[in-house]
Amino acid sequence: MNFFAILDQLATADPDVLGRFDSRRAVFKHLGSAARRAALAATPLLVGGLFKKAYAGTNADTPIDILNYALALEYLEQDFYAKFIASGLVPAGAPATAMAKIKQHEDGHVNLLKGVITTLGGTPRAMVQFKQSVFDANKTYAGLLGVAQLLEDTGVRAYKGRAAELVVGASNGLPSSTQVSLLTTALQIHSVEARHAAHIRLLRGQTPWVSNSDDLAANATYSGATPEATTIQSNVDLPTKLAATYSAADVAAAFDEALTPAEVLDASRAGGLIQ
């Protein structure tokens, strides 16, 4: 068995495959690509399992898996805002009102997802808590507002990353009326997360949309296989191939991009915020 050939083929078909292995296997974290492949090749018995795991978040998940993934992120946000509000750092008035409102939405999302999972015959996943050490390390109003921005923008990207799996007509065994319901529910949460993100960004003096000029633009939240700075949509190079000429910055801002589950759960993003 030629593992290098397999991995090369896989990486050609799916450039992110090594990243998927990486995020699931911390042991490979600090290895270069060649060393990573060598390590994989040296452990043939593990490879089958790794393949399964690497793709578990993409095309093998059931609707309940997807809902539980969303629930994990909502739990994370819910706990973060609970801690943020309890810290006493949020100024009274408009900021306190806004955080209470956002928290109320996250509560709603958690209860909603739990209910839907249960009704579909699944088991809601265990609660997820926001990592105390990260919270403490950012424990000022401005610092935690920055964390909130990253959480909300991650949420927007994460929901976007699962929408295609919930397309009505997907082969997941659910009746189409339920498929319509699940997709619409996900979309209705997705746009609310985007509104949250926009408001938090405004509070921080940033543009409401993701921009290369953000103070947090370098954060991994905005990178990934399809980074937020993307300027090609549906094979159309937007700055040069449209009826008018637009700057790369403007076309990137006009589209939000998805993150795969593996990317979201990577330690550099939401994965690093989970207790």
């Binding site: 408009a94 806004a98 409102k101 109320q104 939405h105 996250e106 509560d107 709603g108 209860n111 909603l112 209910g115 839907v116 249960t118 009704t119 579909l120 927007v156 976007k160 929408a163 295609a164 397309v167 009505v168 189409s176 009326s177 498929q179 319509v180 319901s181 699940l182 997709l183 619409t184 529910t185 979309l187 209705q188 949460i189 746009s191 609310v192 997360e193 985007a194 509104r195 949250h196 993100a197 926009a198 408001h199 405004l202 543009t207 409401p208 949309w209 949509q233 549906s234 159309v236 937007l238 449209l242 009826a243 637009y246 403007d250 076309v251 801002a253 006009a254 589209f255 939000d256 998805a258």
Partner: protein, 272 residues
């Protein structure tokens, strides 16, 4: 029109399975809708005059129809932000002011969405809708309040429209594409709302804010319509807790047609 397709009081979601009271798998609906234009015309002929929307341009069926629907909405938004620049509200804004920058950016984003969707339609061999002629006669472009109110209407409508169109999309790539645009529209909507009345980025007229006391029921919260602050029950048409409005194409177009000139008014008969 919907009376011909639904069986009365049942939620509309259930009717998607059987547009003509005949069991048809959801997935084949688009093929069915496209291949039986004659039958559709017959059904339309049975509609009352007010339902058949004489003189409207239909956005079409299938994913191409939804793409053209999105193209229509983006055309309207782009035209609106372009026209803002001709009014004294905008021209009176100080150079370098945040408000001026905002409208410059919004005009660019919507122009990009419009131009991109046209390019995407052409690239997929789908005939784009014609260039629509807007009718913004109800908007006073010299007045800040009038402009901001209209902007809020357009942006909120855009979000509800994409949220409500997702169910009609059958191609993963198109659904992903809609997702990339709708969240930017939601960011715009939140911004305009905050500009108009600070902290209304998620006010209860677009996002439901009640806190449920018990876990929700599947399907219970995928409703449409205007959010309120009381729990909904299945089929009563309200979004669930923390969820935004979602409206289907015909409902959206009813409002949008108020901003389109005669000859540019739209219908979406395949997406009821």
């Amino acid at each position: 029109m919907s009376n011909h397709l639904s069986s009365g009081s049942q939620p509309l979601e259930a009717d998607l399975d059987r547009p003509l009271l005949t069991p048809i798998k959801r997935r084949s609906f688009f093929m069915y809708a496209g291949a039986t234009a004659g039958a559709t015309a017959l059904v339309l002929a049975g509609c009352s005059k007010s339902d058949s929307s004489p003189g409207t341009i239909d956005v079409g069926s299938g994913d191409g129809g939804i793409l053209n629907y999105a193209y229509a909405l983006e055309q309207l938004e782009a035209a609106f932000y372009a026209q803002i620049k001709t009014g004294t509200y905008y021209t009176g804004l100080a150079t370098g002011s945040a408000e001026k920058q905002i409208f410059d950016d919004l005009a660019l984003h919507e122009g990009i969405h419009r131009d991109f969707l046209k390019a995407a339609l052409l690239a997929n061999s789908i005939t784009p809708l014609k260039d629509l002629t807007p009718d913004f006669s109800t908007i006073n472009f010299n007045d800040r309040t009038s402009v901001l109110n209209a902007a809020q209407t357009f942006e909120d409508t855009g979000v509800a429209a994409y949220n409500g169109a997702g169910r009609f999309i059958s191609g993963n790539a198109y659904l992903a594409l809609a997702g990339k645009i709708v969240s930017v529209e939601a960011r715009h909507a939140a911004l305009i709302r905050d500009l108009r009345t600070y902290n209304t980025f998620v006010a209860s007229d677009v996002v439901n804010t009640f806190t449920p006391s018990a876990p929700a029921v599947a399907g219970q919260y995928a409703g449409e319509g205007t959010p309120n602050t009381t729990p909904n029950t299945q089929g009563n048409g309200n979004p669930g807790p923390g969820q935004e409005r979602s409206k289907r194409p015909p409902v959206i177009l009813q409002a949008v047609n108020n901003f389109l000139a005669s000859g540019s008014k739209l219908s979406a008969n395949s997406f009821a």
